[in-house]
């Protein structure tokens, strides 16, 4: 399905515009927030994915002789560029590996939340009536539950692991997806092309997924970026409290927690994962804002 971009067609077309893809590219380049956020996020993702492959140090190997080695700017050993932690594990390796954990938790939890929230919201917005009543009740119930308390009680009863953290987050952050999907689906439901689809005999599932979902995806993408940042921060918070990732695994939140006792004498231990976390969340938020601006109807500047 290539776009007809030959000049002959363009001249005969009633309104000749640049191909949609080029228009989109122009908007992205014109939006500095998207460029900075997207670039930064790409950098972090590449570092997290490829870093451990190219950087030879093992994030779990303890070098007790070299505990709390200084980073290179304080004249530390060249073998550990960002120093080592309290057990002598290489800090750069742990940061890179921790990035993987953060992104993994964020992406999986948000995908799960999106699947739950978008399904509920679409069904509620499309069918309305009693279905909507039930979904609204579920949303309010979910909003009434404090995330950290629920996570605490879950971890207390079933113990904590990476899977549990992802599941807990996925089940706790779907509300915004549901709210946005529900309202936008309600707006789209009454438009004539949905009526036309019904008149043609389309099934409800086909209308929801082929007619409505593609038309509300812009808002959902923005929600996804907000929730991704949210999930990563929540994971860090849970790990900091000891409710998230278990100790041998490096997570940025856990690294901050482990380093808090050394704040005054070895500040880089807490600063480095903190900076990494801030940059990741900032990048995601900038990208999300950019996507919102670009896809808005008045996005051309």
């Amino acid at each position: 399905m290539s776009k007809p971009a030959t000049p002959a067609v363009a001249t005969t077309a009633p309104e000749s515009r640049p191909a949609p893809f080029r228009r989109l590219l122009k908007r992205i380049v014109g939006n500095s927030g998207t460029l900075v956020g997207g670039g930064l996020l790409l950098l972090i993702v590449l570092a997290a994915l490829l870093g451990p492959v190219f950087y030879p140090q093992d994030p779990f190997a303890q070098d007790v002789a070299n505990r709390i080695a200084e980073p290179f700017w304080n004249g530390g050993p060249a073998i550990h560029p960002l120093g080592t932690d309290t057990l002598g594990r290489d800090y750069l390796a742990r940061l890179l590996y921790g990035g993987r954990i953060s992104l993994l938790i964020g992406v999986l939890a948000v995908s799960m939340a999106a699947a739950i929230g978008v399904t509920l919201g679409l069904v509620a917005g499309y069918f309305g009536g009693r279905v909507d009543l039930v979904v609204r009740f579920l949303i309010t119930t979910r909003l009434a539950m404090p995330v950290v308390l629920v996570a605490l009680s879950v971890v207390a009863t079933v113990g904590n692991s990476l899977t549990i953290v992802i599941l807990v987050l996925g089940f706790l952050i779907w509300d915004r997806f549901a709210v946005v999907a529900r309202t936008t689906a309600m707006q789209v439901r009454g438009i004539d092309y949905v009526k036309a689809a019904r008149a043609v005999g389309s099934s409800h599932a086909r209308i929801i997924f082929k007619e409505i979902l593609p038309n509300i995806s812009n808002g959902l993408i923005v929600v996804a970026t907000v929730e991704l940042a949210n999930a990563i921060l929540l994971e860090a918070a849970l790990s900091f409290l000891g409710l998230g990732v278990q100790p041998p695994l490096p997570s940025w939140g856990l690294m901050i927690a482990e380093a808090k006792d050394y704040l005054f004498f070895s500040p880089w231990l807490i600063t480095l994962p903190g900076i990494a976390l801030v940059l990741l969340v900032l990048a995601i938020n900038l990208l999300g804002d950019g996507v919102r601006d670009i896809t808005a109807p008045s996005g051309t500047r």
Partner: protein, 328 residues
């Protein structure tokens, strides 16, 4: 009328209206006891002002809304007994606004061939071929297939909507204000296209409009609706030449004169449209009727034969009569 293409008998649609938690619900009768019949190949025009139930009636005829009472038969088959896909193969809609009736995220080819996908007709190559053939039928070049609706003008979009409606080869088309959202110059093109298609494919049409000239051009028979009821129904020529109901008369008189110095016609329909939740007693038109008589507010007129037409008026206008206030 035994072989009617579309037959609706005593159809009503009542919507419950919620007025908050502590007041009882109200009922809005959008369509009340409408009986109409359309012969194969005929064009029935339905006219009336906004809020008179035209669109609700069209949704009922399409099977999108179940009627509260009454029965709709298409081609001799009760609509109730037909499945979703069976109804779709017999009757298709054309909507008013081609800017909202096409999914902005689908290409023209996807839009036109969706009905075939839903009905499981043909392979994807055959569907593409059929979509191209449909575009050709409605006078659009095949290169439009890869475009998005946003790249088309209003008239072109309406042609795409017509192509989508025709690809299942229905015999009945329900057009709800098919030209109201278009420029005047495009309106004529779309109407001519519909008239050509009618001739070539032997289609039956129900055309719903508030625009009398569209209906006059296109319809064989006309039904005039007021507050959910048919107040006059008959052959198009007879209705225009000799309206019997004062409301029909007022509608015809309300068409703006071509002479720009003629001013806006004064209809004598002082009041606004009545509240459909609390319809006036007796004849629903009596508060606005220029020829109202005392018992109009107490007796409900029935749709009775009057010349070539059927009229629901206690005191139908005679030939050539002017709708003047009765000297009471």
């Amino acid at each position: 009328m035994s072989a009617a293409m579309l037959d609706i008998r005593d159809v009503s649609k009542v919507f419950p209206i919620s007025r908050g938690m502590f007041r009882g619900g109200a009922k809005l009768t959008a369509v009340g006891g409408v009986s109409l019949s359309v012969a194969p190949g005929e064009v029935l025009g339905i006219v009336g002002e906004s809020g008179c139930g035209k669109t609700t009636l069209s949704q009922i005829m399409l099977g999108l809304l179940p009627p509260t009472t009454g029965e709709v038969t298409i081609d001799g088959q009760p609509l109730k007994s037909l499945g979703r896909l069976d109804i779709a193969r017999r009757v298709q809609p054309i909507f008013q606004d081609p800017y909202s009736s096409l999914n902005p995220r689908q290409t023209i080819q996807e839009i036109v061939s969706v009905p075939l996908v839903v009905h499981g007709i043909g392979s994807s190559a055959e569907r593409a071929k059929q979509a191209a053939a449909m575009l050709d039928l409605v006078g659009l070049p095949a290169r439009f297939l890869d475009r998005l609706p946003s790249q088309l003008s209003g008239g072109q979009r309406q042609r795409v909507a017509i192509a989508r409606a025709l690809i299942l080869k229905p015999r009945l088309l329900i057009c709800d204000e098919p030209t109201s959202a278009l420029d005047v110059s495009i309106q004529a093109q779309v109407l001519n296209l519909l008239a050509d298609l009618r001739r070539e494919l032997g289609l039956t049409f129900v055309v719903i409009s508030h625009n009398l000239s569209v209906v006059e051009y296109f319809a064989d028979r006309i039904a005039v609706m007021y507050l959910g009821r048919v107040v006059e129904e008959g052959p198009s020529a007879a209705i225009f030449a000799n309206p019997h109901h004062p409301y029909t008369r007022a509608l015809i008189d309300s068409a703006l004169p071509i002479d720009p110095g003629g001013g806006i016609p004064e209809l004598g329909l002082g009041q606004a449209f009545p509240d459909p939740i609390n319809p006036p007693p007796g004849c629903a038109f009596n508060p606005r009727c220029p020829a109202v008589r005392p018992d109009c507010a107490s007796r409900m007129p029935r749709l009775d034969a009057q010349g070539e037409s059927r009229v629901a008026c206690l005191y139908p206008l005679e030939r050539g009569a002017v709708a003047a206030p009765a000297s009471a």
